[in-house]
């Protein structure tokens, strides 16, 4: 259901992989142009003149981590709303719509807030408001040109129109034939500047279904939600990107918009275009369309710091599914040296059939069918070194946990080998080259490094950082961070069937 999934939440929500390492740095630097507009919008162009196509990705440095209680899921909700058009796009008569939308905003807010009272809600009032809202939505419908952004791009051959919300960022993507750059600039500058939140309460219902489909019915996602909720006490990395069900049911149009106003500014945005594009043609067009979007205030200072973990945390819950295990340890984030050591260790432990845990736990002991180490859920703030593992029947999560921890202990006492370190470096170098083999892959990696860390060249410098990691660094990392009191373990246990 490729195109129908209007969010990449799942992908960004966990394990944003930064382990793409640099090799032929000069090769990429020759292809890339960086340009900053007066309003602060940062533009990155990467030239790949093969087929006459371009892939674009622009992102705002805002994600679920920027939400507060009551409005969890709002970054994602707004991302959906950004496809609903503008005063020019998506309408047959905007002036008539405006009148109706003012009423929809008011009735929708009253309905949402009354509903949020739960058992104490006035049921008759809820029903009356819902009926009034439906009537207004029906009145607006004839003026709407359905999903016109999609229609416009489809007609010119655009593919992969989509967006994704993560813990750290929200990004928008489309690939287009190379002759459609001006159309891209018009549509995207228009929706950044003038997004109209049509059909807000219908889309909110879509997102309620999205949560059920992608979390409530999916054992791995449900476990991850439980795990993050336990691993973080204070930091909003504890919240799921899609938001808690109660909040998705009650966020109002005004709250979604207030969130947008705070974060969707050109100075909080990076636009990357990769493919058959030249700076000489692209920069003037981008200046023309995006240049007069007013600069906004700096996003609010992020204040919450996760306190040091003082003891092991455990979660166990029953569900109608086979067992699963997650384990995690707090650690520093990119670009700390410890983060690079964690990347090296995750490769050595679980990457490929020659990795330690594959050989021992999957191939020899056969107590697991998968074990994956990584970092998550985000990278803007200190995060976790995680294991996600699937036991093989009749082996239990307890057995698997014990076996994983034995490997962790071994890393603390025996240095990893030079050959293992070299293998990691070889693989990181190759994955850097592979990242350049598709337009969207390249646009994505450049955009993310620039947006989240302020310099796309950190993508290149990461090689040196990982290359500098020694066996002693890996051991130090394990000794310091992979400790019992810094550990969270979550397990999904198969629910016993009623006989």
């Amino acid at each position: 259901m490729a195109k129908s999934v209007k969010t990449l939440t799942a992908i960004f929500g966990l394990f944003l992989v930064l382990g793409l390492a640099p090799l032929a740095a000069q090769n990429l630097e020759e292809k890339v142009t960086l340009h900053v507009l007066k309003n602060g919008l940062t533009v990155i162009l990467a030239e790949r003149h093969g087929a006459p196509v371009i892939s674009t990705m622009y992102g705002f440095k805002v994600g679920s981590v920027d939400e507060s209680p009551g409005i969890t899921g709002t970054a994602h909700i707004f991302e959906h709303m950004a496809f609903k058009g503008t005063p020019k796009i998506g309408t047959k008569d905007y002036e008539k719509e405006r009148v109706l939308m003012e009423k929809i905003a008011r009735v929708g807010r009253e309905w949402s807030l009354e509903t949020a009272k739960g058992d104490k809600a006035d049921k008759d009032k809820v029903a009356a408001l819902r009926a009034e809202l439906s009537k207004l939505e029906e009145e607006q419908a004839p003026y709407i040109v359905k999903d016109e952004i999609d229609l416009i791009y489809s007609n010119v051959g655009g593919v992969g129109l989509n967006a994704g919300t993560g813990t750290d960022q929200t990004s928008y993507i489309i690939s287009l034939p190379a002759n459609q750059l001006e159309l891209f600039c018009l549509v995207e500058s228009e929706r950044i500047r003038n997004a109209v939140l049509r059909e807000f309460y219908i889309e909110r219902s879509v997102i309620q279904e999205e949560r059920k489909q992608t979390t409530d019915a999916v054992p791995t996602r449900l476990l991850s939600e439980m795990f993050m909720g336990a691993a973080f006490l204070a930091h909003p990395y504890k919240n799921p990107v899609v938001g808690w069900a109660s909040d998705i049911h009650s966020v109002t149009l005004e709250e979604a918009l207030a969130f947008k106003e705070k974060y969707y500014t050109p100075n909080n945005c990076v636009l990357a275009i990769a493919g058959d594009v030249t700076p000489a043609k692209a920069i003037p067009l981008i200046e023309k369309y995006f240049g007069d979007i007013p600069r906004g205030p700096d996003p609010p200072v992020f204040r919450t710091v996760e306190p040091k973990q003082l003891g092991e945390r455990r979660v166990r819950f029953e569900f109608d599914a086979e067992p699963l295990l997650m384990m995690g340890f707090h650690k520093p984030n990119f670009p700390a040296k410890e983060d690079a050591a964690a990347t090296v260790l995750s490769y050595i432990l679980t990457s490929g059939r020659s990795s330690r845990m594959y050989k021992d736990l999957i191939q020899d002991k056969q107590i697991a069918v998968s074990v994956n180490a990584g970092s998550g859920p985000g990278v803007r703030f200190p995060n976790l070194f995680t294991f996600y593992a699937t036991p093989r029947f009749p082996h239990t999560v307890e057995e698997l946990e014990k076996a994983i921890l034995e490997h962790v202990e071994k890393v603390k006492t025996e240095p990893v080998s030079e050959r293992e370190l070299q293998k990691v470096k070889n693989n990181l170098e190759a994955s850097y080259i592979r990242a350049m083999s598709s337009n969207m892959g390249l646009a994505g990696v450049l955009m993310r490094y620039q947006l989240l860390f302020g310099d796309w060249k950190l993508f290149l410098k990461y090689k040196d950082l990982v290359g500098s990691i020694t066996a002693a660094d890996v051991m130090d990392f394990a000794k310091t961070y992979l400790t019992a009191e810094n550990r969270t373990v979550a397990a999904l246990i198969k629910k016993a069937k009623a006989s």
Partner: protein, 485 residues
């Protein structure tokens, strides 16, 4: 370029101020006011074809952009030709061909050797083909080809790696009941194609347990031959070098007769039944449909356009527009009439809001019926054709995926000029063609509906929509897992 329009001076409350922002002014111009850009001028490269001395068919693209090389070899033959009592044999043969190593290199040695140089070789057993693919850095091309050919020609299929692969598969079978949409898909395949056909049958622990290493070796021997192999190579390695390396690596591999027996023709079994399987889950997980069409048939272009309008065009398709965008009943829905070697399937798939599931079924049926009764609008057919025609250029962005596509078309018997004539063939399709295709290839009275969920949460009983048969998931699962409980 006026930005924000002020409604009234009295709007002083915070909420009202936000509302102003919610309702921006006139905006810029509409995209239709833009001058149309000049048409794309693009002449795609054609791959080079070659034949090796032992009969292997080759396709090649040079790609100097990055120091990489990619290969994929395909053999006709796959799970459609495995014995029913050994369902899963093709898949296991693929997996163990790779993990089991060759007669002179153990699987573990190959794992270490390839992963150290950031290269990979993987083998899979699909429905119609066995595929062995590889990629690595160009400097390692020689070594990669050597190991690749060794695995293809001389797999060892050791018992321990068969046991490993089987145990992993048995665990996947335990877990395939965990996600309701997967369960619905499995049940739908069985009922649309027939549980006793190669297309619809379910691999089970019982069939897996009978498979021996001799079965793997025999399955390999049956289909892996140079005269049954097509290989594609893309990368920064000159053609002469590619040919020389392949000749050397596959030297002495004898040709042999490979036969693919004709498969029994599929018969339509769909009779409008609703199959309901209870699971305690928040949504109604649905697949509906009946048999589809034969590949490369007379209506293929009509169906490409019809499918785009019906349910494959994302947000411009009717299913998505109505069920998601207008009604908020689902996060996603898609559907269409697909082609297959014998018959593909007509299917619609979605995870729907349980409290309005019957309403949704009515809407879906209405969309099908309307497509069979009325001509689509001018705008719809234009959009569908434009979508297909103008996005065609994306087939050429990545040379390895292009070559892969071309190899598959060739193996599936599409004419050599299929790609070159595709756009012209789509251009010819009319509204009348779409109507005819919809009438001919979809039948809402016959389609079966499989739903996994909790009927108590539905808006109406399923029996109000048609004849219902119940499937007991618990019993199916227990029967399947038998002694493992």
């Amino acid at each position: 370029m006026k930005r924000q329009y002020r409604i009234s001076a009295a709007a002083i409350a915070a909420v009202a101020a936000l509302l102003l922002a919610a309702l921006p002014g006139i905006g810029q111009k509409h995209p239709r006011e833009l001058t149309k850009p000049p048409a794309l001028v693009f002449k795609p490269d054609k791959p080079v074809s070659f034949t090796l001395s032992n009969g292997i068919q080759g396709l090649y693209f040079e790609d100097k952009e990055l120091p990489l090389v990619w290969m994929a070899g395909r053999f006709k033959g796959g799970n459609l030709w495995e014995p029913a009592e050994k369902a899963g044999l093709a898949g296991l043969t693929g997996t163990v061909l790779r993990t089991g190593g060759s007669k002179t290199r153990t699987g573990d040695q190959i794992n270490e050797e390839l992963e150290f140089i950031a290269a990979s070789i993987e083998a899979t057993g699909g429905a119609e083909y066995m595929t062995v693919s590889a990629n690595g850095l160009k400097k390692d091309f020689g070594k990669l080809v050597e190991i690749y050919a060794d695995l293809v020609m001389n797999p060892a299929f050791p018992q321990d790696k068969l046991d490993l692969a089987r145990n992993q598969s048995l665990e996947s079978m335990r877990r395939r009941w965990d996600q309701p949409i997967q369960v619905a898909y499995m049940l739908a395949l069985e009922r649309v194609f027939g549980a006793d056909t190669p297309w619809g049958r379910r691999t089970t622990p019982a069939t897996f347990k009978t498979i021996t290493r001799d079965d793997l070796a025999a399955f390999h021997a049956r289909f892996f031959a140079p005269n049954n192999m097509t290989i594609g190579v893309v990368g920064d390695v000159p053609l002469a070098e590619v040919k020389a390396a392949l000749e050397k690596a596959f030297k002495g591999w004898p040709k042999k007769t490979v036969t693919l027996p004709a498969l029994p023709a599929l018969a339509e079994k769909a009779d409008g039944t609703i199959y309901y399987a209870y699971k305690d889950t928040p949504q109604a997980n649905m697949f509906l449909g009946h048999l589809g069409v034969r590949r490369n048939g007379p209506d293929q272009y009509k169906l490409d356009v019809m499918n785009n309008i019906f349910g494959e065009g994302g947000f411009t398709a009717r299913l998505m527009k109505e069920l998601r965008s207008n009604r908020g009943l689902t996060y996603g829905i898609n559907g269409g009439v697909e082609a297959g070697l014998d018959r593909g399937a007509f299917m619609v798939a979605s995870q729907l809001k349980a409290a309005q599931f019957l309403e949704a079924l009515g809407l879906i049926k209405g969309i099908i019926t309307d497509l069979q009764t009325n001509l689509v609008s001018d705008e719809e057919i234009e959009t569908a054709k434009n979508t297909i025609i103008n996005s065609f250029v994306f087939n050429f962005e990545q040379k390895n995926s292009l070559l892969n596509q071309l190899m598959i078309l060739k193996l599936q018997g599409f004419p050599d000029n299929y790609y070159e004539t595709y756009i012209e063939n789509i251009r010819k399709i009319t509204k009348q063609d779409v109507l005819e295709a919809a009438k001919k290839h979809m039948d809402p009275a016959k389609m079966i509906i499989v739903v996994v969920g909790d009927e108590k949460k539905f808006d109406k009983p399923l029996s109000t929509f048609g004849k219902v048969k119940t499937i007991d998931l618990q019993a199916l699962q227990t029967a399947e897992q038998g002694g493992q409980k």
